[in-house]
């Protein structure tokens, strides 16, 4: 999905010159913010213990990004491109089935 939206931009930002700026910084393509992968900021990520997950969707609801994907079968996982590792899902999880795990070097 990220690749698709990256291609929707006229040009990568770092190659765009001042002459190519749209009037007043206007954006004509919707959804361009998707090209910015905030998942790069992450220092930890959520891990679900499926045996304790009741598939209530609270994690999906509270994710501020949103970067939690519902999988087939009703379980949830993070979207690595957009999860910032904030830990809101782990904090709010009803059964405590989400653990925040530090990123590996």
């Amino acid at each position: 999905m990220t690749t698709k939206f990256r291609m929707a931009l006229r040009k990568p930002l770092e190659e765009t010159t001042w002459q190519e700026i749209e009037l007043g910084g206007l954006l004509r393509e919707p959804g361009s913010a998707r090209a910015y992968r905030v998942g790069d900021w992450r220092s930890q990520h959520p891990v679900w213990t499926k045996s304790r997950c009741i598939r209530c969707g609270v994690c999906w609801t509270v994710c501020p990004e949103p970067a939690i994907i519902e999988e087939p079968g009703g379980y949830f996982d993070m979207d690595p491109d957009y999860c910032k590792g904030c830990g809101t899902c782990a904090r709010e999880c009803v059964t405590g089935c989400i653990t925040m795990v530090p990123e590996e070097e």
Partner: protein, 397 residues
């Protein structure tokens, strides 16, 4: 004055009312404003014109200047020809939005009736309000009398709305000294203005059939490029401003220049002033010329974009340049106009000694005798070498 159009009529009118008629003649479609002394009469009269059906515009009453300019953004974004006016604390309250108007390229026209900033509370005239908004990225001009206030209020729309420009513009006029004075003015009729100023055609606007994102977030990779785009557009607007001024000059016989000159031929001493005090300085220059002093006067009309070449040409041959500021840059080099003028002249091989005198703060009266006194003091200072960075002229103690 060259030939006058047949339509030109000379009428006695308060300058604020004349400005509101200029906005009416320009067929402004959207106005949001909050009353503040000494700008009040402008928007008060516009509000009457709208209420009486004499101007077909949306007049939005708001609770603050921050809301006034924000509302103007919305109306301009919707594609309307948009106008507002403010002064002093009102301009200061607009501050954060002013940068957004220009960066998002909304051609809003605003009159600023220049007034001192608090504290202490002062409703009287100086330029400290607009100098606090120096770097907002708008086109900025200063006028010296009611006729200029009227003319520039009409021309502003044509400059701002040019598709090569699309920048907001502030017409600065001195509070009370101009805003509340009745002058004999040559108005221009509706047919002439309609021919001069076609309806506004927005290049981009809010349109559900063609949605766009305005005012988006910019990453460090692109912010500098956006600023450069704005910088170049504002600098290049110079050419379009001159084209509009020339066209108005042909239409009315009143020709305007970025740096106006008064009796500058063979002048060794030049005064530089912005706004209405230039007329006081004219009287002083006449008297000094009568006494054989080679003194002339420059009036800086175009403040943004800064007219570097015009200024350098205008001071060529002068030995002493006395810049009279109407604002104080506290703890800094003195007056903002003086510091910019001195910077602009710095690369010249042969340049006049530039001295700064700050006058007329918070409505302090300045008469022709004061101007002559400043010239005498500056001459003495120039011969002895500057003693101070600047002078706060007339201060007691």
């Amino acid at each position: 004055m060259a030939k006058k159009t047949a339509a030109a009529k000379r009428v006695g009118m308060e300058v604020s009312i004349a400005v509101s008629y200029a906005v009416q003649l320009a067929r402004a479609e959207a106005i949001a404003a909050y009353p503040i002394t000494p700008q009040t009469h402008i928007v008060e009269h516009l509000s009457s014109l709208v209420a009486n059906g004499e101007l077909d515009a949306e007049f939005v009453n708001v609770e603050s200047e921050h809301s006034a300019i924000s509302t103007c953004i919305g109306m301009s974004a919707a594609g309307a020809r948009t106008y507002t006016a403010t002064s002093s604390q009102g301009l200061a309250l607009m501050n954060e939005i002013l940068y957004i108007v220009s960066a998002m390229r909304f051609p809003i026209v605003m009159t600023v009736a220049n007034r001192a900033l608090s504290a202490p509370l002062s409703i009287w005239n100086d330029h400290s309000d607009i100098m606090g908004a120096r770097d907002i990225g708008w086109i900025q001009v200063f006028v010296e009398n009611g006729q200029e206030a009227f003319d520039h209020s009409v021309m502003a729309f044509k400059i701002a709305e040019n598709h090569e420009v699309l920048l907001p513009i502030i017409v600065n006029l001195d509070g009370f000294i101009l805003s509340h004075v009745v002058e004999a003015l040559e108005m221009v009729d509706q047919a002439t203005v309609d021919k001069f100023l076609p309806p506004y055609v927005p290049l981009h606007r809010l349109d559900p059939r063609n949605p766009v994102t305005m005012g988006a977030f910019a990453l460090p990779e692109i912010y500098t490029e956006v600023k450069m785009n704005h910088q170049v557009t504002l600098t290049k607007s110079y050419d379009h401003i001159l084209k509009v001024w020339d066209e108005w000059g042909k239409l009315t016989g009143r020709q305007y220049h970025p740096v106006e000159r008064y009796r500058t031929e063979d002048a060794k001493i030049l005064l530089l002033i912005m706004g209405s005090l230039a007329e006081v300085a004219e009287i002083a220059v006449d008297e000094m010329r009568d006494q054989g002093l080679p003194v002339g006067l420059l009036k800086l009309r175009m403040w943004r974009p800064f007219p570097f070449k015009d200024l350098r040409d205008a001071v060529n041959g002068a030995e002493l340049l006395i810049v009279c500021d109407r604002a104080l840059s506290l703890g800094g080099v003195g007056g903002p106009v003086m510091s910019e003028v001195r910077s602009a002249l710095y690369p010249m091989a042969q340049k006049p000694a530039t001295l700064g005198y700050i006058i007329g703060l918070g409505g302090r009266d300045v008469n022709p005798g004061n101007i002559k006194d400043i010239v005498a003091r500056a001459q003495q200072e120039a011969s002895q070498g500057p003693q101070e960075e600047f002078h706060l002229y007339g201060v007691r103690g």
